[in-house]
């Protein structure tokens, strides 16, 4: 059995948020990219959890080859982390991130999967914390004609059947599907593990297999961008909060409840 986990490098969303909250998030002269060069780049959190989901399958006794693939400018750092965690193969698809549209990412990853022995399970994050799109896994499922299960918090494998717990607005749902399938992982899965120090040292020597779009022989239709970013901007927040005053918690509480009653909100 072969499991492929797709990991994306993103700007640390907490750092981006801190800049935003401080009113210091800025877009560069190209009108598209954030100027903050101090923001660390790291593995999308949901993708770390997708690796964790694979490792838990292995802990539970499943026997498979684990491949971790990333398309981007220089995903080596992420891939070393994946290798230290126990990935058997790590693959970097080298592309200019500026030109990446979601169909192209999905086409590249799908072609790489097909060229390297296929996959019984493809694990992805529920969404990338930069674009929040959450479309690449569905596009991969369509290209590879696999079933799709989204927002999974627990994944079990029994033979070639996947038993999955999904988080839904109405509570948890248990589903089953036959491999091959694409499954997207959500944060409710729980904390991902850290590699051991020894594994990290060993992983330093790992060289990812590097492929280019040319190696993957995509056709013109696959390569044609369908979505392009023309602009990015920081939305304005209005900010006209009335700060309630009072000399005790009781007075403040009364002031608020009075306001809400006066406005007929409660």
């Amino acid at each position: 059995m072969r499991i492929v986990v797709c990991v994306k490098e993103v700007l640390d969303p907490d750092a981006v948020n801190n800049y935003a909250v401080a009113g210091r998030l800025e877009i560069g002269d190209d009108g598209k990219t954030l100027t903050q060069t101090a923001i660390p780049r790291l593995m999308n959190g949901f993708d770390e959890q997708a690796i964790e989901a694979a490792l838990r399958l292995r802990d539970a006794g499943a026997d498979f080859t684990l491949a971790v693939v990333s398309a981007g400018e220089s995903p080596e750092k992420l891939l070393k982390h994946a290798a230290a965690l126990g990935a058997d193969e790590v693959v970097a698809i080298q592309v200019d991130p500026g030109s990446l549209d979601y169909h192209l990412v999905a086409a590249l990853i799908s072609a790489q999967i097909e060229a390297s022995g296929g996959a019984d399970v493809v694990l992805c994050g529920r969404q990338a914390s930069d674009d929040d799109q959450g479309v690449v896994p569905a596009l991969i499922a369509e290209r590879l004609d696999m079933s799709l299960v989204t927002i999974a918090k627990a994944v079990e494998l029994e033979g070639t059947t996947l038993r999955i717990t999904r988080v839904t607005p109405d509570g948890d749902e248990r589903v089953e599907t036959a491999c091959p399938a694409v499954v997207t992982i959500t944060n409710e899965l729980g904390d991902p593990r850290y590699p051991t120090a020894a594994a990290k040292v060993k992983a330093r020597r790992v060289k990812p297999t590097t492929v280019t779009p040319d190696d993957l022989k995509l056709d013109a239709d696959d390569l044609a961008p369908r979505v392009s970013v023309t602009r990015q901007f920081v939305p304005e927040v209005q900010g006209n909060c009335e700060m309630l005053q009072g000399d005790s918690p009781a007075a403040l509480a009364d002031a608020l409840i009075e306001k809400l009653r006066a406005d007929s909100i409660i």
């Binding site: 969303p13 948020n17 935003a20 909250v21 998030l25 877009i27 954030l34 549209d101 979601y102 169909h103 969404q127 914390s129 930069d130 674009d131 929040d132 799109q133 959450g134 479309v135 569905a138 596009l139 369509e142 290209r143 799709l148 989204t150 927002i151 038993r163 839904t168 607005p169 109405d170 509570g171 948890d172 749902e173 248990r174 589903v175 089953e176 599907t177 036959a178 944060n187 369908r226 979505v227 392009s228 970013v229 023309t230 990015q232 901007f233 939305p235 927040v237 209005q238 900010g239 909060c241 309630l244 918690p249 403040l252 509480a253 608020l256 409840i257 809400l260 406005d263 909100i265 409660i266």
Partner: protein, 324 residues
Amino acid sequence: MSQNAVIVCTWGEDQDGLPVGAEEVLHIGRGLAADLGTDLAWLVLGALPSAAPETAGRYGVANLLQVEDAKLESPQPDALVAALAAVAGERSPRALLFHQTQASRAVAPRVAGRLGDAVVMNGVSADLSGECIVVTASAYGGDTRVVYEVSGRCPVIAFIANAVVPEPGDGAAVAAEALSVDLTGVEERVKIVEPARFEGPRLDDAEIIVSGGRGLGSSDNYKLIEQLAAALGGLPGASRPLVDDGWVDSSQQVGLTGRITRPNLYVAIGISGASQHMAGCSAAKTLVAINRDAEAAIFQYAKYGIVGDALELLPELIRAAGAR
């Protein structure tokens, strides 16, 4: 029906005889169709919501299309994707629009994949630039907006429509037109073994929500949030750290990766106001923030604010809310 229509796609019926978000997306669709000089159509998959014909009239829908099939009785993804792709193949729409829900998040991008067309999620508005549809979408949990230019025949676009204020007009009701689609070959590949148990009212539909965050300090204090919510006649919610730490169930998480709410009143207590949380509550009509830190970002979104200690204020708020 004319080809090239902008088609709003919905299924199910949840609120007042309509699917949640239908009016908002019809509102956006009407604007986009007018810009493109084309018709607006509404495609219903499965049972026709009781208010659909009337609502269609009020948003200038030229064609109300309905695909009825046993496989769409309680619509599952494979049947929905197949039906949508079939209708798109036959009618050559100019765009397919969806209200973004967890269900449409799993369907819309697959339709785009099957058609080979562009897809953009998290849309907040759609406009025209020359011949091209441009979609403004939320990114980084709401910290930024990205403007995407979408090319190709039939882009698939999903909107987070909770900030849209629909403006119905007064057109006459539109009769539904049955479409037949062959779904005989479609088998749901994912089987539901144990359905989600619907546990009481949902945050998505609540008029009043009181949410607690990490500022509560410990899980025991969350019961104060529940008490205040009850005293105000609302539901309790939470920020993500409380879910991650197991204080509350994930169905109570408000935000980008939790519930997207639009209550009349949202009270945020001990919540900093990270964009990913605000994505789930910034459409509240009135937002109240209670935070120890006067500089907390949450105050930027609030109508009323109190700087103070949540644990001192909560018992007093419960008292004041209860007193008449």
